[in-house]
């Protein structure tokens, strides 16, 4: 059950917000959110502290853990990462304790039967890189479960 889509020997991890989820097809259907990549533009904007707190809890738990790290290429461009000492997982600092992201996903049920699929790295994108996810996703995270 290998996963992912390999293009030119590299695992592709960028998907447009709102596109159908296909990273692990057997885990769909779902709607992509937050699969960012340095080579593609993304929406930026403020989000509430409550959204960040709830999103962080989701990302700390994670689902569908993988046995390899995805490195944030917004922090360090892929072409500049040339040493194994650069393969350090992205750390998220949170009230409940720090944790690493880049090897799991989250699932958030939205309105109308939509299931959002995001990488656990999405919390890092929001906090460090100013990413603002689609409104539907934000509402889904804030909605009491």
């Amino acid at each position: 059950m290998p996963v992912g889509r390999v293009q030119e020997g590299v695992l592709v991890t960028h998907f447009e917000d709102g596109s159908p989820y296909e990273y692990q097809p057997q885990e769909g259907p779902a709607t992509n959110v937050g699969w960012l990549d340095a080579a593609h533009e993304y929406s930026k904007g403020p989000v509430s502290p409550e959204f960040v707190r709830l999103l962080s809890e989701l990302c700390r738990a994670g689902v569908l853990h993988m046995r390899g790290w995805h490195m944030c290429n917004l922090c360090v461009p892929d072409e500049e990462r040339r040493s194994y000492s650069d393969l350090v997982p992205t750390l998220v600092k949170a009230e409940g304790g720090d944790y690493s992201v880049g090897h799991a996903e989250i699932r958030v049920p939205g309105l109308g039967g939509v299931m959002y699929a995001a990488p656990d790295m999405v919390i890092h994108y929001v906090v460090v890189h100013g990413y603002r996810p689609p409104d539907g996703f934000i509402e889904a995270v804030l909605r009491p479960s």
């Binding site: 059950m1 290998p2 996963v3 992912g4 390999v6 030119e8 020997g9 590299v10 695992l11 692990q24 994670g62 569908l64 853990h65 993988m66 046995r67 390899g68 790290w69 490195m71 892929d78 990462r81 040339r82 040493s83 194994y84 000492s85 393969l87 997982p89 944790y99 690493s100 090897h103 799991a104």
Partner: protein
Amino acid sequence: MTSSRIHFLLTRLLRVHGAVSGLEGRGRSWSFGRLDTVRASACHWVLAVAVTMWCILGFPSPAIASADLMPPTHGYDTSAVYDGAAHSALSHTSEAAPVASDKVAESVQATVSTATGPLFVLFPLSVAADSGTVFSGHGGIMSGEGGVIETTTVPKGTCIAFYCAHGEGIPDSLGNAIETGNAPAATEVFGPGSQVPNYRLLPPDGLNIAGNPVTVGEVTPLSELLKEGMGTCQWAACRKVY
């Protein structure tokens, strides 16, 4: 019976097998699709036993003998790019090793294609029964300039099985299946003398590890994990390319 005599007989058997199945000399990679065309061959049973013995006992293989003629391939390989896509889902990659001259290259490739290639047609059948050391954690490899992938040589008496293609990842659940002996057939197996990407094993942070696999506390290359006579080892980690 000396090991060289056994090897000679195995080589003869493989040539017979190749002639029967009509596969001899068609290439160096062998896929499941072709397996369907040769399943009825009685030679398969002989080959299955031979492969298991080859892996466990470490019979000298042409690939190993040829490797003696080659320069070391540890460190970034500047003469060849490992191209996972160029190999079948189940393949043997001894030919990936760089060679000192065209003459040696021809010799190596001719030997590999007729002698060791067909071995891997049946090899996965023996993986489950010979579940040796499992390496667990996060995994991957960094590509060098121009996409060059560092390789290492699988030691004598050792094989390494993978459960996804080069560049792909595996979920934690599949890793657990490998660790508990419940994995599906390996997608790719490299035998003694083969050149294999020198993947790194990283600490299993955030993973659920089952069984009693080998894990690491720091980034460790496959070349340091594989030793002679380990039997069939299994890679319960991703094969991501960074």
